[in-house]
């Protein structure tokens, strides 16, 4: 997308002095307007099938963003994101779920969505603060495998804490709402009848934009630069006076907070989740999302989530003719899974900086085009510094 959108790459020092603004150039304003129009059209005419894919992708984008804070910006590889998502989801269910009607039902306090959504993030962040000091002693693969262990320990806890999670059968999750108005079965607003998917769409876009802008700004702050310094060279960062423990814990807690919120939404949207929802496979999909989308990039998280979570669904939708041939095992589900696996390999082979890398290349071409039109020299300098920052992403430890 546009150069002045809040893409928080770690820019070369020359540019860091004057960070690009959010709405500087006319092209970026035009892009934002175009984006709003597209979102509006999808909202109005998307239909339930496409809107549900989109809603699902938006939630995944929030989760991918949270993982990118920890893994992309701070360089701490984690496979445990679904553990924190699960914690957030069950917090939401506990606070916001319906009070039990029969003795065996899981608990629920029936509180408002304005309480349970932030609480989901806070509880996950607290868990992150508790686990962080132990986990962050470890590096590289050892950290990856310990966070992988968290996923299994989480599934065990969720399976056994029947009072909250409903045990192996799972439990229902609350839909957002205000007072009597609930997303699950919405009443008309000012005479307009919106569908559940449309309401979620609006809520999710708001949550995603707020988190994305927040993360992009954090990464331009002192704390964010400390995260990136730790990722690029731990020893070097420590010499420069970065407190390694504080930086890693900061990233871990921030990431857990967002993961908790994403988890609450992930369960709230279908209204149901069982312990095996929070699986390792899901965790790995989020890692795939940030690697394919672009490491240490806000837009990369969003595009990667679209690639990993929406693409198989879209493929499945546009490959229905294969359904009939399922007798040989070549169902559209299988085909889309294989295509997804192959695309992971092909993408990482040929575009190491991810989707965002492709887009940056496009931007460079666009600048050259501008440059030629204006006949100025400055843009070539800009373009070379842009490719430099792209190199930085590639050479980071991930």
């Amino acid at each position: 997308m546009s150069a002045s959108a809040p893409v928080a790459t770690h820019e070369p020092p020359g540019q860091a002095a004057a960070p690009r603004g959010l709405l500087r150039s006319s092209r970026s304003r035009a892009l934002i307007v175009a984006g709003l129009i597209v979102l509006g059209l999808v909202f109005l005419f998307g239909g339930d099938e496409w809107l549900s894919i989109l809603d699902f992708t938006l939630i995944a984008a929030i989760a991918a963003l949270s993982l990118n804070v920890l893994t992309g910006y701070a360089g701490q590889i984690s496979l445990g994101i679904t553990f924190f998502m699960g914690l957030g989801a069950y917090t939401a269910a506990w606070l916001g779920g319906n009070p039990p009607s029969a003795p065996g039902d899981p608990v629920g306090l029936g509180l408002s969505f304005l309480i349970w959504l932030p609480a989901a993030g806070i509880v996950a962040a607290l868990a992150g603060a508790l686990i962080g000091p132990t986990a962050l002693r470890l590096k590289g693969f050892y950290l990856a495998i310990v966070t992988l262990a968290l996923v299994f320990i989480g599934q065990y806890l969720f399976l056994n804490l029947r009072g909250i999670t409903g045990g192996p059968q799972g439990r229902s999750f609350p839909a957002p709402g205000f007072g009597d108005f609930t997303f699950a079965s919405p009443d008309p607003i000012f005479g307009f009848q919106f569908t559940t998917n449309q309401l979620y769409f609006v809520l999710l876009v708001i949550v995603l934009v707020v988190s994305a802008v927040f993360i992009a700004n954090v990464m331009r702050s002192r704390a964010g630069r400390a995260f990136q310094a730790v990722r690029d060279n731990e020893v070097g960062a420590a010499i420069m006076g970065v407190n390694l423990f504080e930086a890693k814990m900061g990233a871990f807690i921030l990431s857990s907070f967002l993961a908790g919120i994403a988890g609450a939404l992930w369960a709230s949207y279908p209204g149901f989740a069982a312990p095996n929802t929070w699986s390792l496979v899901l965790s790995i999909q989020f890692v795939a999302a940030i690697l394919i989308g672009g490491v240490a990039s806000v837009w990369g998280s969003i595009l990667g989530a679209a690639f990993v979570f929406a693409l198989p669904l879209v493929l499945e939708m546009i490959l229905p003719q294969l359904q009939s041939a399922s007798s040989v095992g070549l169902s559209s589900g299988n085909v889309s899974t294989i295509v997804y696996g192959a695309l992971i390999i092909v993408f990482l082979l040929f575009e190491p900086a991810g989707v965002i890398g492709l887009i940056r290349r496009g931007q460079i071409l666009l600048r050259r085009f501008d440059d030629r039109r204006k006949g100025g020299k400055s843009a070539t300098v800009l373009a070379s510094s842009e490719s430099e920052s792209q190199l930085d992403v590639e050479s980071s430890k991930l």
Partner: protein
């Protein structure tokens, strides 16, 4: 007492399968510092091909096993040659992600080729057969698992200790640049590592399939349980992989029998053990410690 010995025996047999999986991980990691997330699917491919060759194509059991090893090794080599070789020098975690891509393709591909669901494993003997001694049943498949694992370990020891390429692999693991300077062909080393890992995985997969009456495409999931084994022993230690595997096998059997801590506690006991070990020794029991000072 007989019950306890029975459990120890079962734990040993299970631990040997974990050790075979963990060995594959460790050999690849030592050669190229990559954790191969598709290792579990090598087991799966091996088990399926062996089963198909033995039951559907009516080949001799040993020919079927050989065929399974050859096909799995070919898959591994093709992947190494076509994808991983282009990734040398890239960030390690990106390479790991590529192996996850292979994992997705293999686990789905197997279902596409053999869509029937549950399959019977290839086995030369009755699954229930075995020796009874002092009230303990020593199952034939478990005895074979243990024997073959010992054989594989011995063969690996001889290979790494006494052969030219074993030495080359050890040298590469120690210092890749120095090995290159000494004229070692790193590409051959990588290919060898992947080939050996795939062959060991096939053997592990065949025994894992035999340990139950039927198996399905979920077989590859065992690789995840082998993670505690490799971490426990230390990622880059081959004896560590064997020790770790056996410890994890025993832990799983013992907690399943004796620990009364809710549903499925035995599935997380290996992970808890692993975390406890890491708290004391952050590089595992036998892993190489990296020294970093500020």
């Amino acid at each position: 007492m007989a019950n306890f010995i029975q459990l120890v025996f079962a734990g040993l047999a299970l631990g040997c399968i974990y050790a075979l999986v963990a060995l594959g991980f460790t050999i690849i990691f030592k050669a190229s510092e990559v954790i191969n997330f598709a290792q579990g699917e090598f087991l799966l491919v091996g088990a399926y091909v062996a089963s198909a060759a033995f039951l559907d194509w009516h080949l001799n059991f040993f020919v079927a096993v050989l065929l399974a090893i050859i096909i799995t090794v070919l898959v591994a080599l093709a992947f190494e040659r076509l994808a991983l070789r282009r990734m040398i020098g890239r960030p390690v975690f990106t390479i790991v992600m590529i192996t996850i891509g292979l994992d997705v393709i293999l686990s789905t591909g197997v279902v596409v080729i053999w869509p029937q669901g549950n399959r019977s494993p290839a086995t030369p003997f009755q699954i229930q057969s075995g020796i009874n001694y002092g009230g303990v049943h020593f199952g034939a498949n478990d005895l074979w698992t243990i024997a073959i694992t010992i054989l594989v370990c011995a063969a690996l020891y001889v290979f790494f200790r006494y052969t030219r390429y074993g030495l080359a692999m050890r040298a590469t693991a120690l210092d890749q640049e120095a090995a290159l300077a000494m004229g070692i062909n790193i590409r051959v080393v990588y290919a060898l590592a992947w080939g050996i890992a795939a062959a060991i995985a096939t053997i592990g997969g065949i025994f894992l399939a035999i340990s139950e009456t039927t198996f399905d495409a979920g077989l590859g999931g065992i690789a995840l349980v082998a993670f505690p084994a490799i971490i426990l022993g230390g990622l880059d230690s081959i004896p560590g992989a064997v020790v770790g595997g056996i410890v994890i096998g025993l832990t799983e059997e013992m907690t399943q029998a004796y620990a009364n801590l809710g549903v499925n506690f035995y599935t997380i006991a290996p992970y808890i053990l692993m975390i406890l070990v890491l708290l004391v020794r952050p590089y595992g029991l036998f892993g190489t410690r990296k020294v970093e000072r500020v």
